[in-house]
Structures are given as C-alpha cells and as structure tokens.
Point group: C2
Chain length 331, copies 2
Amino acid sequence: MSTLTVPQPVPPVADDCEQLRKAFAVSLYLLHTASSDSLIVCRWGTNEKLIISILGHRNAVQRKLIRQTYAETYGEDLLKALDRELTNDFERLVVLWSLDPAERDAYLANEATKRWTSSNQVLMEIACTRSPQQLLMARQAYHARYKKSLEEDVAHHTAGDFHKLLVPLVSSYRYDGDEVNMNVAKAEAKILHEKISEKAYGHEDIIRILATRSKAQVNATLNHYKNEFGNDINKDLKTDPKDEFLRAPTVKCLTRPERYFEKVLRLAINKRGTDEGALTRVVALRAEVDMKFISEEYQRRNSIPLDRAIVKDTTGDYEKMLLALIGHIEA
Amino acid sequence: MSTLTVPQPVPPVADDCEQLRKAFAVSLYLLHTASSDSLIVCRWGTNEKLIISILGHRNAVQRKLIRQTYAETYGEDLLKALDRELTNDFERLVVLWSLDPAERDAYLANEATKRWTSSNQVLMEIACTRSPQQLLMARQAYHARYKKSLEEDVAHHTAGDFHKLLVPLVSSYRYDGDEVNMNVAKAEAKILHEKISEKAYGHEDIIRILATRSKAQVNATLNHYKNEFGNDINKDLKTDPKDEFLRAPTVKCLTRPERYFEKVLRLAINKRGTDEGALTRVVALRAEVDMKFISEEYQRRNSIPLDRAIVKDTTGDYEKMLLALIGHIEA
C-alpha cells in the first residue's frame, strides 16, 4: 500500500506546471540601498517548498502528465530543470521520484552496471521486487534509453557467482499467475535442501528455481521447505559464509519484499552517517507501492516510527520530501 | 522474403470459412443399389484439396481472421476441426501453419521441452531466429497457454552445457537496433578467439556474447573475428568434438538464418526416409519469413530446386501443401 497523499481535488495540470515554473524562476531584483544610490543585485533562488508541495503529492500518472505538459508548455524536460535547480540528496530524491517507474528502473539498473559489486543488490532488487510485466517494461525502457539490453550490460558487468545469479534474474519473465504445482514445490524443496546441505549454494538448480519459477511457486516451495526441514530457507542460506552473493536477499525480495526493504532502511538509517543512497532509493521507489507495509514493519522491528527515524537522521528539503512521500500531509 | 502466394482479390473471410466447413463436411449418402432395395451408406471424406487451396494461400493476418470468424460462425476452433479431419504429416503441417506465429512458437517450444535433447535445436532456433519482439510474444503466449514461463520449462528440461546456453538464449530480450560498438566488437572478437583457442567452448563469455548482444553487434564481432583471426568462427567452433552443444548452429541462426534453415532442409531431405518433422517445421515456420532466400540457398548448395527435391521425397496432400507454401501457385 502506498503512503502517498494526493490533495482532493487535484489542481489542474497546467496550474501545477505554472507553479513549478515559478518555483524555478531565478529573478534579478534591483534594490536601492537606503544609504546610497548603488544597486544591489539579488538572486532569488529556487522555491523547494513549492516543489515538494506539488511533486511530493502527485501519483505516477499525474507526474507523467505534469512532465508532458511542462515540456509542451516550456519546451524543456522537467527533469532537466530539476537537475539544474536542485542539489545533492534532495535533487536525487526528486528526480528519481519524478521519473516514470520503468524509466527509473532502467536508469538505476544502468547506473548499477557501472559501479562496484555493492550495486549488484540494486539489480537484484529490480529483478525480484517488480512484477514480471514491470521488469519487462524496465527492459524495454533500457533498450530505448541506452540502445542496449539490460541483460547484456549485467552480463558484461558481473562475473562468477554474481553473474550466475543476476543474469537469469534480470532476464526472467516469470509466470504471474497464482496457480501452484504442489508436486513441483515438494520436489524442489527437496532439491534446495540437498544442495544447501552439501553447501553447494551456487548450484544451478538453486539458481534455476529462484530465477525462473513464478513467485507463487517459489513461495509454495519455500513453505514446503520450512514444513519439511524445520528451518526458514534464509536461515540455512545464511550459514553460507559468502552470502554477499545475494541468495538470501533474493529469496526475501521474491517472497517478502516489505521485509527486505525494511532491512535496507534499517541498515541505511543505523549506519554511522546515514546511507542516503539507499534511503532515497527505497522511499522514491516504494512510496507508491508498499511503503505502508515497509513502514509498519520498520516500527515493529526498530521500536521507533520510520518518520521519527528519518527526522533524526536527515535535514532540510531532503527530510521534508522524504516525509511527504512516506505520508506526512503537512510536509 | 515470403514464398506465400495469395489470390487477388482475396475471397471474403466468410466465404473461406464456409468453404472450409464444406471441406470438413462428412456426409452420409444413401444409395439404392441397382440390384436390390438395400441401402449403401457412403461416407464422404474431407476435401483436402479445398483446404490447401484456401489455407495454403492466406497470410498470417488472413488466417487469424479466418480462425476467429470460423469460431464465431460454427462455435468450434478451426484447429480442432483440422486436428480431427486430417492425419499424419499433412495434419501437422496444416495445423502448425494455421497457428498464430507466437502461439506456434510457444507450442513448439513446449513440445521441445518434453522431448529428448535433439529437440534442444528447436528451442535454439526459436530463441535465435525470431526478432526480440517475436520471442517476447512467444514467451507471453507461453504464459497464457501453459501457465508457466518458457524459461522455467527450458531450465528444468536441460542440464550442463545445454542449460548454460539455452536458458539465456530463450530468456534474452536483445536490443534490436542497428547501432554497433566497434570497440566492443574488437574486444569481444578477441575474447572469443582466446576461449576457442583454449578449447573453452562452454566458457561463460562465449555464452554471454552469443546470448545477450544484439544481432547487429554479434555480426560485427564475428566480422572482426574473421578479419583478425582468419577463420570464420563457425569453422573454429566445429573443431569442438562436442558441437552437438549447438554453439555453431547458434551463431548461424543469429547471423545467417537462411543458411541454417537450408542445412536443416538438406539434412531432412537427404536423410534415408526423410525427416518430415524438420521439413514440416521449416516450411510452416519460414514460408512467410525468408523461404525465398532459403530456397535459393538450397538450390545453390544442392544443385536441385527445392520443389523438385520435395516432390521426389514426399507424396499426396502433404506434398501439395508443402509446394503451395513454397510458392507453387498451381498447388
């Protein structure tokens, strides 16, 4: 469930665009000083509060319309204007939030393929927490924007165990139905248990099951695993000393994304200095999806409401925009 | 280029459906014998010639419309009627031909995942000779028909080297543009040459390049390979004693599909007893795509026109339908 709040009635798109344009306006004011005839040139800056009050309270369809209308009216991409006018974490949050979801996934995935292995987590997230149709749309947006395929960049960027897991994950187009084959679930729970017992964590059958089965089927298999072998599979996977290879997070993303994102937030906020990259990503990407669940999970797990934790760790416009997206109406 | 011939003007769809219905009509005629009052019950069979004259000369859009109109008019799927009325190779040819291309790919792929490894070639063909968009539509048709994903069945069906190659091939959604990065082409030609020289035919880089790069990029890389290292890559790959693993055919399917299909036809026709399965598949699947090129290639390579070769090897309605699809107007 979304935490986004949208005013009722929503202002006309043209008004939103006009307000945004005003928010960006850089005006030169000529002031006479009292004591002399000299002029002081003042530069009025961007009105961040106005930007938050608009973009922080419009859903994906509305933002898309705003971006289209803004481009038609002022001959400039709204994202370019945001990029120019804003800075730092606030800029990244507003820009990520303003992107169309498929474009945003393509953008983040492309960025991830250019960075170090820690960014492999972002690729796994995109591959596993989107619906099959959304992942496909991200791959189409990737073609359109980068003139390459997502999987070729991921395959080129990764090696070894990351390669073995991430390439099939980002290439998957899982069946999206609820039907479950209980015989397959039993057989594959057994295979998973065997391979994990043999410490063959990177075995092709583990990858095959996680990367190709429908989410409903993976879930049935893991339920059977727990019933039959006593442990949650994630507990067993964590005995892998090399779990930097994302197999446990993959399982979590596929079956309990809200718990996965709670943990990302927890680590980002508890980190000395805050990991703004992760905080921004989770809030911008999940606000309209399941932020309400993530936020509830966060409070249960950390005994502090997410908004309080954010207020403690962040400041300024960045803080205000985060709060707007996680549901603060007054923000 | 297609070899299909369509009459001008095309008869109205309703007429085609009526004619097909007539072709299927099983009539009981009561005849008085001259010598007595007893009755002879005669069963009039299916009119195969009429079926060929219609379905053998309609393009994919027209056939789809015929199937829709037939179902609306007679409350029965045309494919079911064909299945019931026809037999053997002729049946399979007409049914494959009448299926919508994406459905047909899904059907053939599903069949292939249930058979022995020789059918892996069919999976490779589907993955490599369709456009990225067509492969995607086949995967969507697979979801709709089998309530599973193509890649999960392929991954489950294959093992070892086949698995390593086929899963990424069927999961790929390649970039479809013509842009080529010459630096990548040079670098990857070098990688291919190194791995082949080391006889590491199943190396993940070889698979990565073949399975994820756009066809234009693969082609540029292979051109560079030939320029730089002297041999056609296929010649080098063929020194692999285990080339049953389809790497050379994959290269051919990606870059010169008409040559690949010529070879499939050549082997099917030259085989003692004819491989009707392969013959049917190539004709039904390529008649509307590149059969003209395949047929020219066939004549160049075998010094006999394809139609003459088919006439020598096949008979009856099956022969007539094959000839219709490869462009015989009189058939």
